[in-house]
């Protein structure tokens, strides 16, 4: 018993010491909310930290009236962790990644071979989380972070948290986390990452509002950051970009999709001068059937959709006429299918791989890993015959039955 008491007392002493080794004072920590990665000379990475100032935007603001909401610093180092260490020669508080949710990577760096090494080795740090979001920026990441001054969000982490939810709702960009990046490093699939910029390239006015890439959206005033489309990664290296519309299609073609409804406009079949705006919702999982026995694999994709018509600028009375509805349905289906087919063909030719996660379906056709690896799904996909069938039903026409026309015009039409 005596021994027990001694051991217990010893343990108590050890407990006290344990508190000192890894103690962290909240006051002394600097929480990095955004991390930027750029290419630096001599094979180094230039790492940008945006450190949040927790006093701004809180009830404690009075004590820090002249402090900005965040501080941005950039260092060149061999990897992220050594940059974190160097950063502490400038920043007074201990740098912590505990609240790091977003990593911005410049397009140039993402396309380099070094990128996979830097990001892959950083995950060893216990503070790096696999749930961190990735954003690829057209310009340098440091520039992206510095220029991103959201007007409605004072605190930077709020901006990214809210925007991520909006992006997921609209489906213009994919949901891209480090975990997904590591999952899709293989040669059999493509990884899609959020694409954004703070610069304006050429503003193009597209009739359909989602055929843009970040930087191309016509915008006046407002925040400088545009997030649209995705960066395409193959084997851990960025190889191209796809537009917002193509991203939506890619996400729709996946078996399960995170973004469930897209609002988009389609040509009006009865009045080609106008567009019809509809909310298209995925009605259950996409069904993918494959026949891999032939040299050119046969892929049958069925996409179940339901549509809610939101606006009919041509004032055609679709809501009341079932035959016109049928025409409208057919027309939306056809226009969607044409876009999907064109996109799949483009992907097959350009990347010899697919971002639709169909490789997971292909994996089911094999019994062992070896057999699957030997099959080389990427190469077979580029030759595959793909047939997409859209099953759409029009669900509703909104809260208006007919167009809001004055009485005399209605008489005119009747006569």
């Amino acid at each position: 018993m005596k021994k027990g008491i001694i051991a217990f007392l010893l343990a108590c002493v050890a407990l006290l010491l344990g508190g000192c080794w890894d103690k962290l004072e909240l006051e002394e920590q600097a929480f990095v909310v955004v991390l930027g990665l750029d290419k630096a000379p001599d094979g180094l990475v230039s790492v940008t930290f945006q450190v949040a100032n927790p006093q701004v935007g809180s009830s404690d603001k009075g004590a820090a009236q002249n402090e900005p909401p965040s501080d941005i610093v950039t260092f060149a180092a061999p990897d992220i962790l050594s940059a974190k260490e160097i950063a502490n020669s400038v920043i007074t508080r201990k740098i912590s990644f505990a609240h790091l949710r977003t990593i911005v990577i410049s397009q140039a760096f993402a396309s380099s071979k070094l990128f996979n090494h830097v990001i892959g080795s950083s995950i060893r740090d216990p503070e790096m989380r696999r749930e961190t979001n990735l954003i690829i920026s057209r310009e340098r990441a440091s520039e992206f972070i510095t220029r991103n001054k959201p007007r409605l969000e004072t605190r930077p982490h709020k901006y990214y948290a809210f925007m991520q939810e909006r992006w997921r709702d609209t489906g213009y960009v994919p949901f891209s986390t480090l975990n997904r990046y590591f999952q899709r490093l293989g040669r059999d699939t493509l990884f899609l990452s959020i694409y954004g910029t703070t610069k304006r390239v050429k503003t193009k006015y597209a009739r359909e509002e989602d055929q843009y890439l970040a930087g191309e959206i016509p915008q006046q005033n407002g925040d400088p950051v545009q997030i649209m489309g995705s960066a395409v990664f193959k084997s851990g290296r960025m190889v191209g970009t796809i537009t917002g519309e193509e991203t939506r299609i890619a996400l729709f073609l996946r078996r399960k999709s995170m973004a469930h409804s897209y609002i988009s406009s389609y040509p009006d079949p009865l009045n080609p001068d106008y567009q019809v705006t509809a909310r298209v919702i995925k009605d259950g999982n996409t069904r993918i059937k494959m026949d891999l026995s032939r040299e050119r694999p046969d892929v049958q994709v069925t996409l179940p959709l339901r549509a809610q018509i939101l606006s009919i600028p041509s004032f055609t009375d679709y809501a009341e006429d079932p035959r016109k509805q049928e025409k409208l349905r057919k027309s939306i289906e056809d226009s969607l299918k044409a876009k999907i087919d064109a996109f799949i063909a483009k992907i097959q030719q350009t990347y010899e791989c697919e971002p639709f996660l169909w490789h997971l379906v292909a994996r089911k056709h094999f019994w062992t890993l070896k057999a699957y690896q030997a099959y080389d799904w990427g190469a077979h996909f580029s030759k595959a015959k793909i047939n997409v069938t859209i099953r759409m039903r029009i669900e509703s026409f909104g809260k208006q039955i007919g167009p809001p026309l004055p009485l005399e015009i209605e008489e005119d039409q009747a006569g």
Binding site: A7, A11, G18, P126, R130, L185, V361, R363, K364
Partner: protein
């Protein structure tokens, strides 16, 4: 419900104890070891291993059926005589000691890597083992009761963990279903039988149980549930991380607790899981240290074994501190798993044939 304690444990306590001690293997490096050999189909191995161990376990139970109040150690003496029994008993002790020592080192490594990076390993180890000693010293019945108290929380939190990561689960990641191929899978399943080596070792505890029937019921429920739990969680790891990344992760359970989130806002849940996991860890090793002292004393024919708990706690820690880093520990653990598997599978058969032989001679 309130009955006077007679120092013996029942079905309830023993089942809870098994659920914690054996079930905890889903959270250490066992899944990582399974990924190395079973690849994408690693989750099948625990089920196969359980199936493999059922046969020797049944044989052992059959031998113990006609000998009430007797456990594994008594059987050893009965079959191999005084010296032979002692030798086998000490060999079992050695295997348990090595796996407990390196096992506890793994847990300290996890605490070090995932929680307290700057705290010296030795300090963490000392604290863990002090807590372990504190629990183990209270005796088998208390360990069982402690297990019974904490087991509902642990199981509920494990279920919650799966719920919280459900968003990231993609079952299609489990294909191609046979992974490295059926023959390899079967072989690895048999090789890793000692994941459930406790099925054989814990029969030493029978004298501490109220009766054999309760022991049997608890064993089937406890080990069966653990096989399903370990297999299920290994499958969840692959479903969340997909195959090659899962293989490269050192501590998939701890990383999974970091992925858990309730909606967008509540996202840093790992400390809650960490606390419950630590409690389970202490119970887990308390059982092993207790078993060590018990086995050792019985093998040498000593009457009391409680004074041995402290030296064995220290010894475990001393041996555990030897390897330089966790990858060395993993190598040793994998080898011990293999070697002890053969030992555990063969032991009941050897004992059975020895008893037979003795009868023939006499």
């Amino acid at each position: 419900m309130l009955s006077r304690s007679n120092g013996k444990s029942g079905t309830r306590e023993y089942t809870a104890l098994l659920l914690l001690t054996v079930g905890l293997k889903l959270s250490d490096t066992t899944p990582s070891i399974l990924f190395k050999s079973g690849k994408i189909a690693a989750w099948v191995i625990p089920l196969l291993a359980f199936g493999v161990m059922v046969v020797p376990f049944l044989l052992l139970l059959a031998m113990l059926k006609s000998r009430p109040e007797k456990g594994l150690t008594d059987l050893l003496f009965l079959a191999a005589g005084r010296w032979g029994g002692m030798l086998i008993g000490l060999a079992l002790c050695l295997v348990t000691l090595v796996s407990t020592a390196f096992g506890s080192r793994t847990y300290v490594d996890i605490i070090n890597t995932m929680g307290y990076q700057r705290t010296p390993l030795f300090a963490l180890y000392l604290m863990l083992m002090a807590a372990v000693f504190y629990v183990a010293n209270r005796g088998f019945e208390t360990i069982g009761r402690t297990a019974w108290i904490v087991v509902p929380y642990i199981e509920v939190f494990l279920a919650l963990l799966v719920v919280f990561v459900w968003y990231d689960v993609e079952w299609q990641h489990l294909f191609p279903a046979a992974g490295p191929g059926l023959p390899i899978l079967l072989r690895e399943g048999a090789n890793h039988g000692s994941i459930f080596g406790e099925m054989i070792l814990f029969t030493a505890f029978i004298p501490l149980m109220r009766n054999l029937q309760e022991f049997k019921i608890a064993s089937w429920i406890g080990f069966g549930a653990c096989a399903v739990k370990i297999a299920g969680m290994t499958a969840v790891y692959i479903a969340v991380y997909d195959f090659p990344p899962a293989e490269n992760m050192a501590y998939p359970f701890q990383q999974l607790t970091r992925a858990a989130s309730i909606g967008q806002i509540i996202s840093h849940l790992e400390s809650v899981f960490f606390a419950f996991w630590l409690i389970t860890t202490v119970v887990h090793f308390a059982v092993y240290v207790y078993l060590l002292a018990f086995l050792f004393a019985r093998s040498l024919g000593l009457d009391t074994f409680e004074p041995l708990i402290l030296p064995f706690t220290g010894l475990t820690m001393l041996i555990g501190m030897v390897p330089e880093n966790s990858s060395r520990v993993n190598q040793v653990l994998d080898t011990t798993l293999h070697v002890s598997t053969y030992m555990f599978i063969l032991l009941p058969f050897v004992l059975w044939s020895m008893i037979r032989l003795r009868r023939l001679v006499h």
